[in-house]
């Protein structure tokens, strides 16, 4: 049994413009010590998927279906009070913008200590001492002094280290990092990614990295899930998805990014058009209006994920190799 498993997760928001089906039929699984990269562009549903794992999208306007299994326990149906106990303790989260994600009016040590005290009966003094150790553990120099700093007194990279220290305060089994380096400069990004890798090897936690950056995913994920318009279009190991991509969208993404090495291309190969609006998705395969391989049938049926390798699944009946073509799972 996987440590974390999502089965047919669906998230829909009722808005004034209509129902936004942000996440549809997303299934994935993650084991201890492994890193899963969830990649997609804005509006692909990757962040909603990540937030829904801890029930952070719950509201009166949200409908959540499917299962989120943590050690076999379904978090979707778990009462709020029990779910709250898991947040931070068994699953930690790091967000994109560390400046807006830290409370501007509390000292960082206080904020970390608060995470500890939310789950453990320890004295304020002990919690603060823990905060100092955690700050030291994420590589912030002179932690005894920094523990009393406010977020705005730190640099971007230091703030993200504080977020990581806070997320790891209770030694969670899973760390969800939602665009952890997107607000940072590339040299600092490298440091933060290195830190995450080091902490993972020390604690053996499972890591779910959500990113729009294929490079970040390619360098750090063991498994990759590609999302488009709320659905998984391709998933598999890093070598399968990045090295031997099949889905036209994954291929399009890989071809549209300029590289820092190799021959310089006169032209990039962009994906034509733009992503669809979440309230008005195209019928059938949501990618078909932008797809150069599209056939008339693509506008009719939502393609099922087809198994094309040991772990490799692709939601494209046009490009998936014809044999052995085994539908992984029927889809609505």
């Amino acid at each position: 049994m996987a440590l974390l498993e999502l089965r047919d997760l669906e998230v829909a928001f009722r808005t004034r413009e209509g129902i936004v089906r942000a996440v549809n039929d997303v299934s994935l699984s993650l084991d201890r010590g492994r890193t899963l990269g969830l990649v997609g562009e804005s509006g692909s549903g990757k962040t909603v998927t990540a937030l829904t794992i801890l029930g952070l999208t719950r509201s009166e306007q949200t409908e959540i279906a499917g299962e989120v299994l943590l050690d076999g326990v379904d978090l979707v149906t778990l009462p709020e009070s029990e779910l709250r106990d898991l947040r931070g303790r068994r699953v930690g989260m790091v967000f994109q913008d560390p400046l807006s994600s830290l409370h501007p009016m509390y000292r960082i040590g206080w904020q970390i200590a608060e995470a500890v005290r939310a789950h453990e009966r320890v004295s304020k003094k002990a919690a603060r001492a823990r905060a100092v150790e955690l700050i030291r553990g994420v590589g912030i120099p002179s932690p005894e002094a920094r523990v009393d700093a406010y977020p705005h007194e730190l640099s971007g990279g230091m703030r993200q280290r504080v977020m990581i220290a806070m997320a790891l305060a209770l030694d969670p089994d899973v760390l969800i990092a939602d665009e952890p380096t997107s607000a940072l400069d590339v040299t600092v990004q490298a440091q933060i990614l290195e830190l995450l890798a080091r902490l993972q090897s020390e604690t053996g936690m499972a890591l779910l990295v959500v990113s729009h950056d294929l490079g970040v995913i390619a360098e750090h994920a063991d498994e990759v899930v590609v999302m488009y318009a709320g659905r998984v279009v391709e998933q598999g190991t890093r070598d399968e998805v990045i090295g031997a991509a099949i889905h036209p969208y994954t291929l399009g993404l890989l071809e549209s990014i300029p590289h820092v090495d190799g021959p310089r291309m006169a032209q990039l190969t962009p994906i034509p058009g733009s992503p669809p609006s979440a309230v008005d998705l195209p019928p059938g395969c949501a990618f078909h209006p932008r797809c150069t391989y599209a056939r008339p049938s693509c506008a009719e049926l939502v393609p099922a994920l087809l198994r094309v390798g040991p772990d490799h699944r692709v939601a494209c009946p046009v490009l998936a190799p014809t044999s052995p073509l085994t539908p992984d799972k029927p889809r609505r």
Binding site: M93, H103, P104, Y106, A118, H152, M163, M166
Partner: protein, 314 residues
Amino acid sequence: MRRLAWSALLIVLVIFLTFLVFYELPSADPAQLRAGRLATPALVAEIREKFGLDRPFYEQFWIYMKSVVTEFDLGYSYYKNVPVREEIFARLPASISVAVGAFVLWLAIALPVGILTALRPRSRTDRAVTGMTLFFLSAPTYWLGLVMLFLFARDIGRFPLVGGAGTYVPLSENPKAWFESLILPWIVLAFGFAGLYARMIGENLREVMALDYVRTARAKGLSERRVVVRHGLRAALTPVVTLAALDLGFLLGGTILVETVFNIPGVGRYAVEAIQNADLPAIQGTVLFGAIFIIFAVLVADILYAVLDPRVRY
């Protein structure tokens, strides 16, 4: 330090402007008033000389400023020939009772209602608050005060529950009577503010609750109550606190209409009397007090903001 200097300058400017208005645009001759109905021109002239009213404008202003600054002497009332400072000090407790009581009442209403509307937007409470605010804010204070009196005052009210106009008793004498005499003015003053503040708190909190750091707080596994109070309200109330300090300052400066309607012997009513009698030193005194309260409130508000929000530094 620079802010304090600015505040002092502002107070001088306020005094100067009041001086200007009442000297350059006299509604009545103060000397004439002081002399009484049967005054001889000689008496008027004598009074004029005694009070320095024959001196040029700037000299009078200088004399006044000097006594204010050196011994906080606000001069003698033309009308009653008593020191203005003592007159105002005697009336301050009543004004402070009105202002502070209303302040406590409005925050006591606004805080829970604001939180409720933020957590349950578009609910019935939310709409009710909007309606109440609109009513109490748009209703003229004078009219609202009279309605209150006709409804609840012991002498003329339909439901004689509490003391009516002119029943003010100092707190030190009889706390119960003090409370009963002030509850209606408090309500008249507080409800409009309460609605306004409830909406402000509600809107701020609703915005803050959608921010990233509130999401972080939830992701830490904090209880919803702690998320709202320690993370949401902490940020949502900071601007409200400073504004409340300002509004309290305004109220302390004298609540003219309410004190008049309810016949409360406060600074506000004193100001009205002073204006009616062209009693310049008294007018000056009340304006000066009002200005001091307001400027002090601005100062307090700024300091509070810096204390509450570590990102702000002076």
